[in-house]
Amino acid sequence: MAEVRFNIYRLNPETGGDGRFQEYKVECEKGDTVLDCLNKIKGEQDGTVTYRMSCRSAICGSCAMRICGHTRLACSTQVSGLLEIYEEITLEPLQNFPVIKDLVVDMKAYWEKIEAIMPYMVPDAGEPVPEKERLQSPEQFDTVFEVATCIRCSACVSDCTSLEADDKFLAPAALAKSFRFAGDSRDAADKERLTELVKEGGIWDCVRCYECTQVCPKDVRPAEHIIQLREKALNNQMEKSVGARHVLGFMESVGHSGQLDEGKLPMFAVKNIGAKISMVPIGIKMFLKGKLPLKHKPIPGAEDVQRIYKKLEGE
């Protein structure tokens, strides 16, 4: 192939200061991964460049880093593929984590969030432990297998939009891990888990931006599992949070008139009086700008929509 420019984020905790970028040029061969090149840089040019790595086969999850602005595993990212889009390769540490040194971050907060979701199976204490395996259908296995393949690389957490805006957010990895158990037919602690998950920083704080699903190197699809958790919470009548009320209000509005009553929904979803009042100025301004229709009209033929709603959702 050719000489490729690498721009690597450097931060030395012993000298302190802000991070900076350092440029390295690497002779790349076809089939070289980003990790291969990092190893060449470390081995041949500068032994101080610091990063984590181990298996180099996309299973240990050590080498996730931001490569050209998106989080990926260095070991399974082909340089040639990047060069189709980028002229040079920028390497930065995971975002949403404190940096220890160069491309190495402190994962403490990540694990604390995992630990917070009761990250182990809790079988029904009333059932005797069977002599052999607990039975599980192939479909029940399929339900949780996808999340069970999470390699804890943190790519999803690094690119999570909600977490970037609010560090209380549990973030996709911990939430997907919750589904690992909540979705498991052998687990009996749904209520306990979901009670925590519907609180502030939980499932309803996800913006559904699908960054996590997009960057996941193992196609774990965290966003989809967060939505499944929402479904579980609603099925367990956990309906107090704004997010849950938003869904219920939305359903009711569409099921009735065929389309969303945007004016009414926020007032229904938000119960807190202070929060309601804080929405008033924007509401008034919208009204004055002609952006808040006074009357919500059902679509023509709304009866058919109501019929389907009744059939599939009940009254």
Partner: protein
């Protein structure tokens, strides 16, 4: 660099957080102060890379399976070097440990009736591999770490174990280096249990992680304890070409073919009955023979594994990771094309000699080192003898992790913390200071590369006395070069340059042991194939090697194999 000293103490200290280490910690139970030291975060351990399955004669897919059959297959697979009392113990424990994992929440691929599905694997006469698609090691590793979190076991993660403290045949603790903080610490313990993994990183083409540098094995050796059967290194038949990344035997368990340049399923010439499901030693030799005789694809050093006839649905259900690895690392879409593969250094049969309870021993008479236990790939019980069967490694890790964890905690309960010698951390301190301050011109990467390339050439699937002796000389030169090694990073925090040099020193040392054992063993047995001595020689070599550290290199002794039920026979597949 000045190194501060801190001393910690625990009842039971486990080094390594793969399947064996974590299973041991769980077995230790309550009422005991247990801690784990690991150079990686536990979920980064290389157990997670195991794909195809874990063996147990549950009889779910074939009611006729039994522990006796499993035992015989394992003994035969080991080329009769496995200790039969230990093998019997392992296969009898197997179903129980699978159910335990299942009860902890481990996911397993299921049969329609809801029981754990089982598939065929090389060298096993019955379908007894339990699996979660091709993610078996990963899913077990996760579930064990879940239990570690649940039990709030203290984990010193990203701490590098530098040396083992043994005096008067009593183990007293370890010296470990906190990678993040750059601090050298002594951890004192009533019992120490090593579960530090294998030594496959000595080879250029390997399925092993960079981290698999035999740290525990060498710490043991440097503490004056011999290592057993180190010459036995398993080459897995199907590693991704040039990468060595594992293509699970589960692929062949599901029916994949291996093809040469003529499109021929050449295994018919080597193992007409079991074909692609012959054991690994035999299959790797078959592939290497095809390559050596010019029948590799386009005359090159690889053949094909072909999954196409399995169909997209089956591949996605049973082998999804193989599909992704082949695509990401070689650009091959295995629905449409065969995958280029070559044998890859995979598993270390040899290691720290120990009993079925994980008690480490130090001579042919099995004299124990009190308070020192080992389990998993770093240990040599020996259940794999000269050649391990696929799916028996995860089984070994869990069975013996559990047994050793129980035995070590029982031992610790009856002991007080042993006295530490005054100079407990001296060797470790000196080694680290030497690496940091050495003024040389040699690079870690260059020496490592030369070591791995030469080991692959001279101590690989086929070996001769001439090659092995020249390799001993090469290693000696490389060690000389290592004495002039220089690293760039002199810093204290997260110095991976330093760790890389420490690891290389261990690679060089155990490579020497592998080759020394291989020169001496003038026969073919399991993974050890001497073209200049092309027969198995039970009369002279049905025995375990023990390698002791001396100033003049490894000194070899031998100890007998335990044979209980099955007398050695010719192996045919």
């Amino acid at each position: 660099m000045a190194m501060e000293e801190e001393v910690f103490s625990h009842d039971l200290l486990i080094v390594g957080a793969g399947l064996a280490g974590m299973r041991a910690a769980i077995a230790a139970g309550e009422g005991l102060d247990v801690a784990i030291v690991s150079k990686l975060h536990p979920v980064r351990s290389h157990s997670g890379a195991a794909q195809g399955g874990i063996a147990a004669s549950l009889g779910n897919s074939d009611e006729e399976d039994s522990w006796e059959t499993h035992m015989f297959d394992t003994v035969k697979g080991s080329d009769y070097l496995g200790d039969q009392d230990a093998i019997e113990m392992m296969v009898k424990d197997a179903p129980g440990v699978i159910y335990e994992l299942e009860h902890m929440g481990c996911v397993f691929t299921r049969m329609d009736d809801g029981r754990v599905a089982q598939r065929r694997f090389g060298g096993h006469s019955k379908p007894r591999a339990c699996f979660a698609a091709d993610w078996t090691g990963h899913t077990i590793l996760q579930v064990l770490y879940e239990q570690i979190m649940k039990r709030r076991v203290r984990v010193y993660e990203e701490w590098y174990m530098v040396s083992l403290i043994v005096r008067d045949n009593v183990c007293r603790g370890i010296v470990a280096y906190d990678i993040d903080q750059g601090k050298l610490c002594v951890i004192r313990a009533k019992a120490v249990l090593f579960a530090t993994g294998g030594y496959g990183r000595a080879f250029k083409i390997t399925s092993n992680a960079h981290a698999n540098s035999g740290d525990g094995i060498i710490a043991t050796y440097r503490a004056g304890i011999p290592l057993e059967d180190m010459e036995f290194v398993q080459f897995h038949p199907t590693g991704l070409w040039r990468q060595g990344i594992l293509v699970s035997e589960g692929a062949r368990g599901e029916g994949a073919y291996i093809l040469n340049n003529d499109g021929e399923r050449f295994m018919t010439n080597y193992a007409p009955e079991m074909m692609e499901l012959a054991p690994r030693d035999l299959t790797s030799r078959a592939i290497q023979t095809e390559i050596n005789e010019g029948r590799g694809i386009g005359g090159q050093d690889y053949v094909y594994i072909d999954l196409r006839h399995l169909g997209k649905e089956r591949i996605l259900e049973r082998l999804p990771q193989i599909h992704d690895l082949a695509y990401d690392f070689t650009g091959v879409d295995c629905f449409e094309e065969p995958i280029p593969i070559q044998p890859t250094a995979h598993y270390s049969m040899g290691g720290i000699p120990c009993t079925m309870e994980g008690q480490v021993t130090c001579d042919p008479g099995n004299t124990p080192i009190k308070g020192f236990f080992a389990a998993g790939e770093c240990s040599c019980v020996s259940v794999h003898g000269a050649n391990r069967l696929g799916t028996n490694s995860l089984l070994e890790a869990v069975v013996f992790g559990r047994r050793a964890g129980t035995a070590a905690s029982e031992y610790a309960k009856g002991e007080v913390l042993p006295e530490l010698p005054d100079d407990a951390n001296q060797p470790a301190r000196e080694e680290i200071e030497w690496v940091l301050n050495n003024q040389g011109s040699e690079s870690v990467m260059a020496i490592k590369d030369d070591l791995q390339t030469s080991m692959m050439e001279n101590c690989g699937i086929f070996r001769t006395e001439e090659q092995l002796k020249s390799q001993l000389a090469t290693i000696s030169k490389l060690r000389e070069r290592f004495s002039k090694v220089k690293i760039d990073d002199k810093g204290r925090r997260f110095n991976t340059d330093l760790i890389g040099a420490l690891e290389l020193s261990r690679l060089l040392e155990f490579s020497d042991i592998i080759v020394t054992g291989a020169v001496a063993r003038q026969e073919c047995r399991g993974s050890h194939y001497r073209t200049d001595h092309p027969k198995r020689d039970d009369e002279n070599w049905l025995k375990h090697t023990l390698a002791y550290r001396t100033d003049d290199g490894p000194r070899l002794e031998y100890k007998p194999v335990t044979i209980t039920t099955y007398q050695p026979e010719e192996r045919k597949y």
